[in-house]
């Protein structure tokens, strides 16, 4: 009975998470302008950059896209299973080719700790 009362804080629940594999389903790509991307240099490239970006969206590779207002960069959520695939796509963007933007890539998946809520529903 004691065990049941303590269930909410039971350490033993936590290792059960290990049974759940969290697949990588998205890659978070945080892009920031490099020193080469000075305003006068980057301006000429941006019309090409945006078109290449829209093409990646239309190809189903860029799922979500955002602008970083305080850093003049971008954030993409990409439909890629691997960092390598995302990197390959992003380095071909005009700003990447010109060395004017660098991306940090973070593999993402379903929020694994949600599995902790999957115990049997309480009996009434």
């Amino acid at each position: 009975m004691t065990q049941r009362v303590m269930r909410g804080a039971d350490v033993a629940i936590y290792p059960a998470l290990a049974a759940f594999a969290a697949p990588t389903t998205k890659i978070l790509a945080i892009g920031n302008v490099t020193a080469k991307g000075a305003p006068d240099a980057i301006g000429a490239v941006l019309p090409f950059e945006v078109r290449a970006t829209v093409r990646l969206h239309l190809a189903g590779k860029i799922d979500q896209w955002f602008f970083q207002n305080d850093a003049y960069g971008v954030v993409f959520i990409m439909n890629c299973d691997t960092v390598e695939e995302a990197h390959e796509l992003l380095e071909k963007l005009p700003l990447g080719v010109a060395g004017m933007m660098e991306f940090e890539l973070i593999p993402l998946g379903p929020l694994k700790p949600l599995a902790m809520l999957l115990g049997e529903p309480p009996r009434s």
């Binding site: 991307g37 896209w65 970083q68 993402l108 902790m116």
Partner: protein, 134 residues
């Protein structure tokens, strides 16, 4: 180069180190509003499996409550196990910080968040010029 410093930018109040801080948006595209906050959570060294185990049941419930309250819009697990990524429905970094600071792992010093204000993809404005005639 883009010198985003790995550790410093993850500390709570660190000013984010961005490569070209003097970079100003080129003209001829309209500014965009901040519409949401990206929160990148990283487990700290204090968050050993043994230490965070007892806290996780409360952490996941608090996270689901933030989702049900309409504050955490999207949630992801970092599949290298280093933390989480949230999209938060607020335009105010202070509000996002306040919400995240009340999460159990955060209160226990086991999680740090970097916040990045996000808005619509500004460069789409380049596509709005009328096509050339003829």
């Amino acid at each position: 180069m883009g010198t985003r410093q790995g550790d410093s930018r993850l500390s709570d109040d660190a000013n984010r180190t961005v490569g070209a801080t003097d970079t100003k948006p080129p003209p001829n595209v309209a500014d965009v509003p901040t519409t949401k906050m990206l929160a990148i959570g990283r487990l700290t060294e204090a968050a050993t499996p043994e230490a965070r185990g007892p806290i996780m049941p409360a952490e996941v419930r608090a996270t689901v409550r933030l989702h049900l309250a309409g504050k955490v819009d999207q949630w992801f697990f970092r599949t290298d196990g280093s933390g989480v990524v949230f999209h938060i429905n607020t335009t105010d970094p202070a509000e996002a910080r306040s919400l995240l600071d009340r999460l159990p792992l955060r209160m226990a010093g086991m999680m740090e968040f970097e916040l990045i204000p996000l808005g619509p993809l500004r460069a789409l404005g380049f596509l709005l010029t009328e096509p050339a005639a003829g």
